[in-house]
Structure formats: structure tokens, C-alpha cells
């Protein structure tokens, strides 16, 4: 494995130890880190500010475990894509917003809120992005039961 990537992963484990629930290293270029929702700000800030990762986007979906979000970061120098994976409880899906750390997260959090009803705490303006006029208030089309 690329020594720089190895170093980043070791650093992550060391700095954030109890919160790194699991690391899946498919290869040098694809790594997924499972973390609890409350750790998202610290770890993403570490990747973004300290290690100069680029935020690509976030993907959210509803599964049997609850609401899952994958935050995708890119380390362009080596082509690494690192996914931070959080699982939020089905009854109360909420997580801190990353918009305070970098503006790139603003719109996607609004969208995840619109399609799945996930709440992003302290988001500057969680208003509608794509759904105004396209579907009703309180409807979350990507949920298994959209009207819940």
C-alpha cells in the first residue's frame, strides 16, 4: 500500500481511536471508514483542513439499519477516495451540518433533507433546493414509505 495512505490511515486510528468503528481498505484508492454520527465534524475537518482532502459529495439512503450517509472525500494527489460512513437511527435521523466547515456541503445537505428527511443541525438555510413545486411538504420520496 502507498506509504502516504498508510500513514493517513494510521493517523486517523491514532487521533480518533474510539470513534473509528471500522476501516475497510479495498485497495490504495478505495477506503471506507465507519464512524458514529457525532464524530463527523472532527474527522471531516481533519481530512479537509489538515490533510487537504477534497469533498466530493454525500450519498444518503434508507436501509434496515436506519438512515445511512456516505461522505465521499478525494485525495487528488494519489487518487484515493475515502468514504466516511455513518448510520443514523430510523426514528430520529439527524447529524451536524458540515456547511460551517466548507461551503461545498451546503446544497447536498439541503437535498438529503428534501429526499429523505434527514435533519442537519446548524445548517444555515435548510430550505428547499429541488423540490419546490415538485412534491409536497413532509413527503420524502426516497424513503421506503414516503409519507412517513
Amino acid at each position: 500500500m502507498n506509504p502516504e495512505i498508510k500513514n493517513i490511515i494510521e493517523d486517523l486510528k491514532e487521533k480518533f481511536d474510539p470513534e473509528i468503528l471500522n476501516i475497510t481498505e479495498k485497495n490504495d484508492k478505495r477506503v471506507t471508514v465507519d464512524i458514529p454520527g457525532k464524530a463527523i465534524i472532527n474527522i471531516s475537518q481533519y481530512l479537509y483542513h489538515d490533510r487537504h482532502f477534497r469533498f466530493i459529495i454525500a450519498s444518503a439512503l434508507e436501509t434496515k439499519k436506519g438512515f445511512e450517509i456516505y461522505y465521499h472525500f478525494s485525495f487528488d494527489r494519489t487518487g484515493l477516495i475515502m468514504n466516511l460512513h455513518v448510520i443514523l437511527p430510523a426514528e430520529k435521523p439527524e447529524i451536524e451540518s458540515l456547511t460551517g466547515s466548507f461551503e461545498g456541503a451546503n446544497w447536498i445537505e439541503r437535498e438529503m433533507h428534501e429526499i429523505l428527511g434527514i435533519n442537519f443541525l446548524n445548517h444555515p438555510n435548510l430550505e428547499k433546493l429541488i423540490s419546490q413545486g415538485n412534491w409536497a411538504e413532509g413527503v420524502y420520496p426516497y424513503r421506503k414509505k414516503p409519507l412517513s
Binding site: Q132, G133, N134, W135, P141
Partner: protein, 113 residues
């Protein structure tokens, strides 16, 4: 053939692409603002039938469920030759119950939903 800046100067309304709930409102507004007679052409598979997006959750119906359509140009996307051919055909042979004949005292009434 000239592209004009406002619907009020138009003789032909070309509608392409799939219509979602938001577009539907605007499309109706445009159609109502259009001076009569106006010919409406649905360009592309999405405008004609909904195409590949017909099962989407925001699809608001093919164009002819929203406003009356005088000509359909299918294709995904239609070749330029097809679009030109379709419009020429429409202008030289307007269909029997098109808006042109409607406005000239045919059976009135629009089938908007």
C-alpha cells in the same frame, strides 16, 4: 424561422424535454399567454410520451396531457433533419383539427388537464 424573445411574438411553440410538476405550471402560463393562433410542437421522446423518464416520481405527463399539441417529432434526441422535416410538414400541411383550424371556427375547447 426566427427565435423570438417572448411568447407573445411567437407563432409556434416548441416544447422539448420531459415536463415535471414545476414545468407544468410554467408551460400552462406560457400557453395562455401565447397569441392565437399558436401551433404547438412536441419535440423528443420525452415531450411526446415521457420517454425514459415516464415512470419517474415527478413526471407530470406528456405535453399533450397539458396543452393541445399539433405535431410530434419523436426521437431521443431527434436528429436535426427530423426536427426540420417535422416542422416543415406541419407548416405545409396543418393537421385537420389543429389549433389553426380551431381558431378559424372549428370545434373550440382545449383539452388541458
Amino acid at each position: 424561422m426566427q427565435l423570438v424573445g417572448s411568447i407573445r411574438h411567437a407563432d409556434v411553440l416548441l416544447v422539448s424535454g420531459s415536463i415535471n410538476q414545476k414545468d407544468k405550471i410554467r408551460l400552462l402560463e406560457l400557453y395562455n399567454q401565447a397569441p392565437r393562433p399558436i401551433l404547438v410542437v412536441a419535440i423528443g421522446a420525452c415531450a411526446c410520451t415521457g420517454g425514459i423518464f415516464a415512470e419517474g416520481n415527478v413526471f407530470a405527463g406528456p405535453v399533450d396531457q397539458i396543452i393541445p399539441v399539433d405535431a410530434y417529432i419523436p426521437g431521443c434526441p431527434p436528429k436535426p433533419e427530423a426536427i426540420i422535416g417535422g416542422i416543415v410538414k406541419l407548416l405545409t400541411h396543418p393537421p385537420f383539427d389543429s389549433s389553426l383550424s380551431r381558431e378559424r371556427g372549428g370545434t373550440g375547447g382545449e383539452s388541458t388537464k
